[in-house]
Amino acid sequence: MTQSTIQRAPRPKGDLHTETQQIAMGPSHPATHGTVKIDLEIDGEEIVEMDVHIGYLHRGFEKECESGTWYQAIPYTDRLNYNSAILANLAFCMSVEKLIGCEIPRRGVWVRTLASELSRMGDHLTRLGAACLELGAMTPFLYGIEARELCWDLQEMLCGARVTSNYVRIGGIQRDVTPGFLERLASSLVRIEKLLADFDKVVTSNRIFVDRFRNTGMLPVEKLISYGVTGPMLRAAGIPLDLRKAEPYLAYDEIDFDVPIGTTGDNYDRFLVCQEELMQAIRIIRQCVPVIEKTADESVNVADPRVRWPAKERVFGRMEELIQQFKGVTEGIKVPAGEAYAAVESPNGELGFYVVSDGTGKPYKVRCRPPSFTNVAPMREMLIGGMLADIVPTFDMINMIGGECDR
């Protein structure tokens, strides 16, 4: 299994070098956050050929989803991307809701929007912080992780879990915002802005950092499109594709925000795009707050017991609702037969779910279209001809999340 799978390239005649060297990087390597094995053939420090092996975190996500009810698949979606679990919950629930044809109440939509952006911030902060760490800079990593902690604390207030959120439900969300959440959110955002400013001062124009990131990991736009690359990687190359604008879902068409783009598509542009998206996420969250404050007496869930079981205080006091909850838990909801695809803009790009229902209480097929998978595929082409040291920043900016890539 450890043997290299690379075909050796023929050496040009008259070259002073005698042989290229084959090395294996990973699957567990200190300079990558993501479980991947890279078989490399290097000539000095130049990459001649590489083969990327994924699959080390394959847990049979789709197979598991097919064996439970629709609701039981939601916690599995948490385990796709540990940084932005809420967005995976959301994409899955949106695809099922599309099949059922149910409309989420306004308050639920706005809380979902807020939770999505909180999730996006956690993901981007990890990407940027970990990128610095893997290039040897500990301090900015700590700024990033402190800010992520604030996001995760807020997420914990929303749903009781810092990482595996299990927050979004088919037909709504697990629970409304908890008392004190919005106040804590306001103070945390101020602190996060301060941390981002500090982070920016230490990193963005740091000579060592810029030299490692500039002009590395580039690929022409046509290639990126052909590989199906989406998200910040595509935007850094100058294509302003953002599903929140292209196919507005949730409340994004009522919110004012910008889509940052780069020009060259190198790692430095990807870094800057993510940095700006953090600022835009804060801007979006601040626009969600007044609506959530205004709609305090509205429900976040659909009032249809066939989709979303009733609120607990009613279940414990009334016969009809008790039966509905019982049936909802034991039999699961019945999703009409058919197929649907819904996608959200995740921090890595288009995260979509293609679901097929046969009309029973169990999913027939749950396909996750993982952005990490399509973003890692072109890594070989991005790096051949580059230096060994380019792998780390490129892999950082691809932000491959093993759980999502390998499912």
Partner: protein, 171 residues
């Protein structure tokens, strides 16, 4: 007619008899095309200037065990606007789901790697998990599982509880 209905009508007029079936369930335009003409059909969908499906968003398979033909391969295509007006975000002009039906034996289809680079890994995944081979694929190896793995786990007749050497004992 809905946007999805218009799109299906447009695709049908382009492809004619290659479209075997179509529907617009929950607003998703879907066409079923002949398996033998799949590569040619997808190429026309990509290259036709009024459709220009330049992105292969997703490629997967579904196992309808007990039905003949047994497998469906599902392509999700998108037409992405590459040069939006200055300062405007890109639009996704249209999305289309293209399906082909593949029998259990031979479980084979044509590779579309030459049309979209994204197909390379997607097709490796379908081979790995469903055991469908793709003719003309440059490098059809397992991708998520390991070489010594036996069987294709997303087939409906692969038992979820089956253990294999590197999968480990039941806990």
């Amino acid at each position: 007619m809905s946007a999805a209905g218009d799109l299906v009508a447009q695709v049908k007029s382009l492809l004619g008899g290659d479209v075997l079936d179509s529907h617009t369930h929950v607003g998703d335009a879907t066409v079923l095309v002949a398996v033998a003409r799949a590569r040619e059909t997808l190429k026309r969908l990509r290259d036709d200037p009024s459709l220009s499906f330049n992105v292969l968003v997703d490629l997967t398979a579904v196992d309808y065990l007990g039905r003949e033909p047994r497998f469906e391969i599902v392509y999700h295509l998108a037409s992405l606007e590459l040069a939006p007006p200055a300062g405007e975000p890109c639009r996704i002009r249209r999305r289309l789901r293209v399906k082909i039906q593949v029998p259990e034996s031979p479980a084979e289809a044509d590779s579309v790697c030459a049309l979209w680079d994204a197909a390379n890994w997607f097709e490796r995944e379908v081979w790995d998990l469903y055991g469908i081979t793709f003719r003309g694929h440059p490098d059809l190896r397992r991708i998520l599982l390991y070489d010594a793995f036996k069987g294709h786990p997303l087939r409906k007749d692969y038992p979820k509880e089956r253990r294999q050497p590197l999968v480990g004992p039941r806990n």
